[in-house]
């Protein structure tokens, strides 16, 4: 049985409410043996009895029921700056994960054997080695620009399902959300397209790191590793070395910043990622500092960020896109099987817009428009 009653909480609650097991059975309209069997885990109450049990004992579902861990979604967020992850955010993401389970049989190309990083470590040398191997698998040298299609291809290769969404620039707490279903061995990666284009590639690389390290998903360690891996994947040691040489040749702060920006533009990544990777390179080899103060870095970072479009603005004009354009972009641009599978499922099972609303965490109006497109 994948779920059992939490005996400890029930017994504590019985004591608190001054109820015996026999009295509980009577109030629930079941035999005393039935209650004993529930507490032993050999049987589980029917829904109406479970509900009455919760009300009588004043317990929530989580206090009342123990579920097997491998049936529960594992969640990781790429938070928007300045937001804090709460229990509600985790519960909402977990609910989306549970609701995605019926979609899994409709997905194609799901691989149960996936490449994983053994002994993921933030140690500079280990990280560079791991990235070098990952890049080599993509057919890239350490100096080649990593493009979106490489990342998208890699997600496809490992069977992770990309779900690009239009969540608005500031409406949601997260800009990316990773939901791994351990029982089904499927990972869904939600990416908010209403986000600055300069950060987007970094987030995709960050999410790819989560796919490579499933054991660390949902932990602080996993988040730190994914950030470190993403930075190195986008701008490895070999690139940092060249950038460093360019920067130290420049005589003024402006010249140094221009040198860093040139590399950021060439790789279509953020100025800050380039700066951080050069800093790591300098620290590792104990070289003289590049001599740009943090304040200047942040000023430039903010200026550049304001000038760049959102990914959604770059992809669609005008915004919001018609549902057909959005779905086509997810199907073709992101090579995602998500909407194809959803279309088949909705048609086959005659499902409503409410399902689309819940799994994509969007408004009913948007879900209704998408649903209409999917059934047309």
């Amino acid at each position: 049985m994948d779920k059992i009653l939490c005996k400890q909480n029930i017994q504590a609650s019985l004591q608190k409410e001054g109820l015996s097991q026999a009295a509980l059975a009577k109030q629930l309209g079941v035999s005393a043996q039935a209650v004993t069997n529930w507490l032993k885990g050999v049987d589980f109450p029917r829904p109406e009895k479970l509900l009455k049990l919760a009300i009588l004992l004043k317990l929530s579902f989580d206090q009342l029921v123990q579920q097997q861990e491998n049936t529960q979604p594992i969640i990781a967020f790429r938070k928007r700056a300045g937001t804090k992850t709460t229990e509600t955010h985790i519960e909402n993401a977990r609910a989306i994960g549970m609701l995605l389970k019926p979609l899994v049989p409709y997905l194609q190309g799901i691989h149960t054997l996936r490449p994983q990083l053994s002994n993921p470590s933030e140690n500079y040398t280990h990280l560079q080695q791991a990235v070098s191997e990952a890049r080599s698998k993509l057919g890239l040298s350490d100096q080649t620009v990593l493009d979106y299609h490489h990342l998208i291809g890699q997600f496809k290769e490992v069977g992770a399902v990309l779900v690009p969404v239009l969540w608005g620039e500031k409406k949601q707490h997260q800009n990316a959300m990773h939901i791994h279903l351990p029982e089904e061995k499927v990972t869904f990666i939600f990416l908010n397209l209403d986000t600055s284009i300069e950060d987007f590639k970094f987030w995709m690389a960050h999410e790819l790191a989560h796919v490579y390290t499933p054991a660390l998903v949902g932990t602080e360690e996993g988040e730190d590793f994914a950030d470190a891996f993403a930075g190195v994947l986008l701008f490895p040691n070999a690139c940092a070395q060249i950038a460093y040489q360019d920067v130290v040749r420049a005589r003024t702060t402006h010249g140094k910043i221009t040198a860093l920006q040139k590399h950021a533009t060439h790789h279509s990544i953020s100025f800050f990622t380039v700066y951080k990777q050069v800093e790591s390179y300098v620290r590792n080899l104990q070289l003289p500092s590049i001599g740009i103060d943090e304040r200047s870095i942040h000023i430039v970072r903010n200026q550049v960020s304001k000038q760049l479009p959102l990914v959604s603005e770059a992809l669609f004009s005008p915004l919001p896109p018609p549902p057909s354009n959005y779905i086509a972009s997810v199907d073709n641009g992101f090579q995602s099987d998500f909407f194809r599978a959803l279309r088949v499922m909705i048609r086959e099972r005659d499902m409503g817009a409410g399902y689309v609303k819940q799994i994509l965490n969007i408004s009913l109006a948007d879900a209704t428009a998408l649903h209409l497109e999917l059934i047309s």
Binding site: K58, L64, R94, P102, G352
Partner: protein, 192 residues
């Protein structure tokens, strides 16, 4: 007294034309219709609902009835409601495959309240009917409530016809209302 709890869609189907509706006792079982306070925020946060049901905000009489007659809860009841909602919603999540459209947390709260206040829930959402049956919570379709209101003379034949016509014009006539129209209201519509 038997409490009858409308979900948001059911409220929107009846409230414009049946006045007064909330808090009015009718029928031998003294049915009394009520709503959850969440209806207010659900409509106000949905541009689609606000657009389709402009009277929800503009009609002061209906708004006043809604605000004065909505359910209020004690602290203990709120706790019981939260616990019951968590059980029903987690049941949905564990068995998501069983529902055409898995009921939302708000849907589950409506059913949980049905259990706690011994209320009959009224909804045209078929997945909520499936869920209510699993939890043995009394539930009715909107047309079934309309039939009870007709029997108790809370509405007359003309109003039944008017409601059916309005829902049809708004493309908001649920399949169950269409399929059961002649069975429930045969005389009214045969005369038409």
């Amino acid at each position: 007294m038997t409490l009858v709890l409308l979900d948001t869609c059911s409220y929107l189907r009846f409230a414009k034309r049946i006045r007064p509706m909330l808090g009015v006792k009718f029928g031998q079982k003294e049915y009394e219709i009520t709503i959850l306070p969440e209806i207010q925020s659900e409509v106000l946060h949905s541009s689609r609902l606000k657009h389709n049901f402009p009277w929800f905000i503009s009609d002061k009489e209906i708004a006043s009835e809604r605000l004065s007659k909505q359910l209020k809860f004690s602290k203990a009841e709120k706790q019981a409601l939260d616990n019951a909602t968590s059980v029903i919603y987690n049941w949905v999540l564990m068995n998501a495959r069983n529902y055409k459209t898995p009921p939302s947390p708000t849907d589950c709260k409506v059913l949980a309240l049905g259990q706690i206040r011994n209320a009959i829930v009224v909804t045209d959402d078929l997945s909520m009917h499936t869920l209510a049956n699993e939890f043995q919570i009394p539930i009715l379709h909107g047309y079934e409530l309309l039939k009870k209101m007709l029997t108790a003379k809370l509405v007359d034949k003309e109003l039944v016809k008017e409601i059916y016509a309005a829902l049809e014009v708004n493309s908001d006539l649920p399949r169950t209302w269409i399929e059961n129209r002649d069975k429930a209201f045969g005389r009214i519509f045969k005369q038409a």
